[in-house]
């Protein structure tokens, strides 16, 4: 296990290097920040001065080397737009994204597994067929459409839930949370649902497939014939064995939801990292874009490694050599 983790660590560093290099070079070509930063009425000479100040007049390789050296020291550069350190700017948004992702995964996992079990027990009942058909919709309807539909119904027509933002938030240490106020929870519901729907459908289908397979096994038949309570058979004997792929997928998705909930955050104007990324791309704020993608890569690599390790713990048959 130790060697495995060490190897994953080395791989992770190589991936990060590659990611940083690709982003750095690609986003140099998406626009020139100097024109905006020097001001609309700047002369060519004034623009050159700003270019020198940002170090953009140096050769690309030198710029990249400098960027890596600074990044190693935890300095990812200053945002061109807000002129404060990029890393701080992104980390400030992390709590909002984390709370949204966490709530979404929680909704998706609980509802998905619950419905999955329900459906697997009586697969041919009418209501269960309807659930399965709906889950297909959940997988295939794009997130932005779901978000807009939910806003239309719950905010504009019914007026029950607010359509945007985080509502009232409370600062707890460095963490700004919206989970502690009624308004914060109300604001969280719609975006979390939007983000959860796809995951929910996937988990539902996975659980159903796993459960149907396991329920046909000999040892389940034995459990039934022993006269065990249905609760015990389903949850203790069947579900635990059907859960392994579900846990793996949920874990992997959690990382992705944190890193890429861009669409949902934009529709609901959720003040998270995804929203910041999109604004930064519009404004060619290269330091923020590169730092963000590096952070996203770190999150996904970490989640994948954690899932791999968890996998070995849940299922002793798996070995990493």
């Amino acid at each position: 296990m130790g060697t495995y983790i060490a190897r994953r660590l080395v791989q992770g560093i190589i991936v990060l290097l590659a990611v940083s290099m690709i982003c750095f070079f690609i986003f140099r070509y998406t626009g020139d920040p100097v024109v905006t930063m020097a001001g609309l009425y700047a002369t060519q000479q004034e623009r050159e001065e700003v270019r020198r100040m940002l170090g953009l007049d140096k050769p690309m390789i030198e710029q990249y080397g400098l960027f890596l050296w600074n990044a190693l020291h935890g300095n990812f550069g200053k945002s061109y737009v807000t002129r404060v350190p990029a890393l701080g700017l992104i980390l400030e948004r992390f709590p909002a994204t984390f709370e949204l992702a966490f709530t979404a995964v929680l909704i998706a996992f609980c509802t998905g597994v619950g419905l999955g079990i329900l459906v697997s027990i009586k697969p041919y009942a009418l209501q269960n067929r309807i659930i399965m058909a709906a889950s297909l919709g959940g997988i295939s309807i794009p997130t932005f459409l779901i978000g807009i539909l939910l806003i239309m119904v719950f905010s504009v027509f019914l007026g029950w839930l607010p359509p945007f933002g985080r509502g009232e938030t409370v600062q707890v240490g460095f963490w700004r949370t919206g989970l502690l106020t009624w308004s914060g929870l109300k604001h969280l519901l719609l975006p979390a649902l939007t983000l959860a729907l796809y995951q929910l459908a996937v988990i539902l289908r996975l659980t159903r497939a796993g459960m149907r397979e396991v329920l046909a096994e000999e040892y389940i038949k034995t459990a039934w014939s022993k006269g065990l309570y249905p609760f015990s058979v389903i949850f203790k004997h069947a579900l635990r064995n059907a859960m392994i792929p579900v846990v793996t997928i949920s874990g992997l998705q959690f990382g992705e939801i944190i890193a890429f909930s861009i669409v949902t955050e934009t529709i609901f104007q959720w003040p998270g990292m995804g929203n910041l990324l999109l604004t930064s791309i519009y404004e060619t704020d290269q330091p923020v874009i590169v730092t963000y993608i590096m952070i996203a890569a770190v999150i996904i690599i970490t989640m994948n490694t954690l899932v791999d390790i968890l996998y070995a713990i849940i299922n002793p048959k798996i070995r990493y050599d």
Partner: protein
């Protein structure tokens, strides 16, 4: 309302209004506003876009300010100003004004502010900063600014240069200065949660008198459909930047009231005139002008939310001419002109434009290309995001492009020196002359206005320049002025008049 004479109604309303003003102060009038762009920082010099200045105008004051539908230039932190000779500007400062932290406002703060402008680390107004030769403070309430060259529009720009407190700006950490504004403005910042909201409270000691609305909650919502949902669900009182495609819905909603005004920004086409290229022939330029059916663009593409333009400046700008008319839409005449110019078969040209900057910008460019095709000109479309488009304009790489403009100084001179003058790195002219247009007559006439002090003389010269550019030379092809659209909740007693510069200045808004 039938049967009640309108006069009576008006006078009752007026009486009510006066009573309200006289009556005891209401408990905390507040306002929630959804705006279409988020503030980037709370440093008043770091962002020269109107979206940014719109926030800063509430926390800070300039030496002068602009008010009213025509943007009239009025005193603010300076009570009056003089222009004794062509390089000197003398401002007499208001006494007894304090910053939000209690520091008195003096001439040292003005000097500090103007020196700060030329530091590219914190300023996007380096052009203004670098034109200043020296700043003298003979006493606490007088400032004498000398410029390096003659800048006739210097005072016209003073409403957007916001004065900072020297002591607290120097003493505080630079990062703190970026997020916590300390100005003299009508509002103090309560909290700025990035990406979520900006809340402000009235500055009770404001020199113009405390503003009527005590608490303002500004929520930037960049996604237009979400902004509309926030308004329709009653979450916000005022919304800026109503998109043209949602306008009908807003207007039909009985709970909402639409507020519209012609925007200052004009949308136009700019062309180069490199020798030997077809565009160098004024007949070709005229042909392109006449081939474009602007009425149809305004009706179909802008959905009626635009006003025809026959020139680049808008009516309140010095240099605007009432008598300029658009060339008629006449494709037959356009074809004839092309034939006369020696291009009966037309020619090829690349038409560039942004796709995320102006209202329906991409659609306008596409429409123009279609009209040109009808007279035989093959326009190759090259539409791109503004972050790529504007650097290309700045480098002068383009041939034929769509751009929009309005000048915060209300003086056409500055616009022309950046957009129309031959590119000249030494003098700093033509910095946004994206297609390298160059005409010695235009340059000479423009340069002759640089040392004109007298407003009337200046106006005459700029009007002549405008006529020459629009009629004789067809430097640009004007299309239309955009329309600014706002929506306000009805029955909430909000009185709001949009400003020409699109700024949201909350001291000007009142609520019953």
């Amino acid at each position: 309302m039938v049967g009640i004479p309108r006069k009576l109604l008006t006078s009752v309303l007026c009486a009510g209004l006066i009573l309200c003003l006289w009556g005891p102060a209401q408990a905390q009038t507040s306002l929630v506003v959804a705006v279409d762009s988020a503030p980037r920082m709370m440093n008043p010099h770091g962002d020269d876009s109107d979206a940014g200045l719109s926030f800063m105008a509430n926390f800070f004051d300039g030496l002068l300010q602009r008010k009213g539908p025509e943007g009239e230039l009025l005193p603010a932190l300076a009570e009056r100003w003089e222009h004794p000779d062509e390089f000197t500007w003398k401002f007499y400062l208001r006494k007894g004004v304090t910053f939000h932290n209690g520091n008195p406002f003096t001439s040292e703060d003005v000097k500090f502010t103007f020196e700060r402008l030329s530091d590219p680390e914190v300023s996007e107004f380096i052009n203004t900063g670098k034109t200043i030769e020296s700043i003298e403070c003979p006493d606490d309430h007088t400032v004498i600014i000398k410029t390096k060259t003659h800048i006739p529009w210097f005072a016209n720009n003073m409403h957007q240069i916001f004065i900072m407190d020297k002591e607290s700006t120097e003493a505080r950490d630079p990062g703190e200065v970026m997020v916590r504004p300390i100005g003299t403005g009508a509002y103090k910042l309560v909290e700025w949660v990035k990406g979520s909201y900006v809340t402000m409270e009235a500055n009770e000691d404001y020199w113009e008198g405390a503003p009527q609305i005590k608490k303002v909650d500004v929520r930037p919502i960049t996604e237009s459909s979400t902004r509309f949902a926030a308004l329709a669900s009653g979450q916000v009182d005022i919304v800026t930047g109503v998109p043209v495609e949602l306008f009908d819905k807003v207007e039909k909603n009985p709970k909402l009231e639409v507020s519209r005004r012609p925007a200052r920004r004009s949308i136009f086409l700019a062309m180069g005139n490199k020798e030997g290229s077809p565009l160098a022939d004024v007949r070709v330029r005229k042909a392109i002008y006449m081939a474009i059916n602007e009425d149809e663009i305004m009706e179909k593409v802008m959905r009626g939310h635009a006003f025809p333009a026959a020139q680049i400046p808008d009516p309140p700008t010095i240099g605007y001419r009432k008598d300029l008319k658009r060339l008629p839409f006449d494709p037959e005449q356009a074809k004839k002109l092309l034939e006369e110019a020696g291009y009966p078969q037309g020619f090829e040209v690349t038409l560039t434009g942004p796709n995320d900057r102006y209202v329906q910008d991409k659609q306008i460019v596409e429409a123009v290309a279609k009209y040109l095709a009808k007279v035989g000109i093959k326009a190759k479309l090259d539409v791109k995001p503004k972050s790529i488009f504007f650097p290309e304009v700045a480098e002068g790489k383009l041939e034929f492009y769509l751009i929009g403009w309005f000048d915060g100084t209300f003086d056409m001179g500055r616009t022309y020196s950046k957009l129309g003058h031959t590119r000249d790195e030494e003098e700093g002219y033509g910095g946004l002359n994206g297609a390298n247009y160059s005409d010695p007559d235009i340059d000479a006439l423009l340069e002759s206005t640089f040392d004109m002090v007298d407003v009337d003389e200046r106006e005459k010269a700029l009007q002549e320049l405008n006529r020459m550019a629009m009629v004789d030379k067809i430097v640009w092809i004007p299309l239309h002025y955009q329309e600014d659209l706002y929506a306000v909740q009805k029955d909430k007693g909000i009185s709001f008049t949009p400003r020409p510069d699109q700024w949201m200045v909350y001291k000007e808004i009142t609520r019953q």
